[in-house]
Amino acid sequence: MLGLTRKDAILLAIVTVVALLAPFILNPFPTNSGFAQFNAGYPDLMQRFAIFGIFAIGFNILFGLTGYLSFGHAAFLGVGSYAGIWMMKLLTANIIPGIAASIVVAGLFALIVGFISLRRSGIYFAILTLAFAQMSYALAYSVLTPITGGETGLQLKLNDPRVLDGALAPGERAHANLFGLDMTSSIEMHFGAWQFTFNTGYYIAALVLVLAFYLSIRIFRSPFGMMLRAIKSNNTRMTYTGLNARPYALAAFVISGMYAGLAGGLMVAMDTQVGPERMFWTASGEVVLMTILGGAGTLIGPVLGAGLIKYMENIISKINSGILHEWFYWMPDGLEDFVITLVYPFVGKGWHLTLGIVFMLVVIFLPGGLVEGGQRLRRLAQGKRAKKSATQTNPAE
């Protein structure tokens, strides 16, 4: 089906179904219950899951397949965002030209950076990419302020030209849209105590995620993908088999840069604002962590890693002492305070601590990332029968 093996088709189908049903799946708790805090099914976070999923999928095409560790991929995301918002300011608030420009500009930038950085390998390559990204960040924050808006970034303004769009009616603002379909518009559904939100922007992002995921499966399974894995596995043999590794690696670099640009373009399409800290090295580090956390070189791992980190950032960080008191109100006062004292350092402003601990636990106990966790669960469920087939699993699953 769709040129995929049965196994890949099933994976794609699962991703598609999960993406379509995300508003339900991510909102398992009734709106009024104490657990509603853990609901993630609101438009912004769902959009972020999809966008960072795309970013990580693209990064994995470079890192997971070729083993080249780029520490500057956020630069492509940022450049894509700037290109996108300028299209939306100059041309039209329709997101199509913006996203197209994001991909193209990020791809071109990746071509330049990749062409130079790929002259070196290993840690030297990583530092070269890091240097380019840090320069982009520093310049965007300061001397490029006329183009980037500096610290305060760029947003849509009432007096932007938008030459393709008609004049705005008084009181009207420019909305990011797809042929009139407003990204921010939502339909809400109430079902008993539950509430579900279906957001246009999210579904567009989800559609792009599914397409991006599908494309990445095709790349993984293609001769090109095989060549990329060959680079990672043995560069010497690659060379002495008559293959020029550099253009393969560069192609992978540019493709992953374009994925990053796509993610950046979607970010401004969903939320019409861009600032330079999107390119800071910690943002580049984040996508590295997402990919490793989920499982580098696996198809679904990076998406899971992206989801986990964004979930922690947006959900755990919002649990404050007030919410803890609500949760544990039923305990005797002394015990309640004790439990809260124990839990408090790990939530709210302590969410970074929890994140750090999760990183360490995953890498210590699940060397292959979250995907390995899933595999272990499946093996556990299948019992001994799976033992035999486990040795024969496809390496690029």
Binding site: G3, L4, T5, R218, I219, R221, S222, P223, F224, G225, M226, M227, R229, A230, K232, S233, N234, T236, R237, M238, T239, Y240, T241, G242, L243, N244, P247, Y248, A251, I255, Q392, P395
Partner: protein
Amino acid sequence: MGILEVKNVNKRFGGLQALSDVNLSVAENTVHAIIGPNGAGKSTLLNVLVGKLLPDTGSVMFDGQSVLGRKPYEINQMGISRVFQTPEIFGDLTVLENMMIPIFAKRDGAFRMHAIESVRNERAVVQQAEDMLESLNLADARHDHSASMSRGNKRRLEIGMCLAQEPRLLLLDEPTAGMARADTNNTIDLLKQIKDERDITIAIIEHDMHVVFSLAERITVLAQGTPLVEDTPDKIKGHPKVREAYLGETAAA
């Protein structure tokens, strides 16, 4: 006029004259062995042939074309394949995938974007790879990780990968080094089979005289960066200079 012509090649590393005035001619469709004591310059010569090193002076012609200044992958694409002392294979890939890569390289050249169509749909390539594995008796292992194979099988796979490119010249760098006797014999048999079945020139660098005398039609003895003698195996066996320079040393060692 041989398929490989090395003329007046010199290479210095600082104070060490690694190759001095090397002349070598390998005739088409023969097995030509290059032997010599440690430090004789065998590896340096090999690295010059595959483009890893550039000689200071001299010329290296393959089938009438110079290989000097070309990158290793370009030289490979001209028809020279190399087997390494320790098998260089794609350890993270399956045996079948290992075999498909040189077939793609032969078909598509040094770089081509085939990023969409699945490898499985490249039926001709898959078939050819399967056949090759069949002929190497590796078909049963086709879905295994190649890193998990025995050393002997890795060697077979590597030689098979080189053959899959249908090279005109196959360079072997001590192909049986560190191998058990049985594996060595298997490798000799494999190489004999290749020699018999294909139109191919083989140049082999080897320490193991058993291997050399089982396979070679001509032998060049290298000592201190210079070819000492070149002749048939029978003549080499009794050559006094060789005894002195090479076999003598082996006896002493």
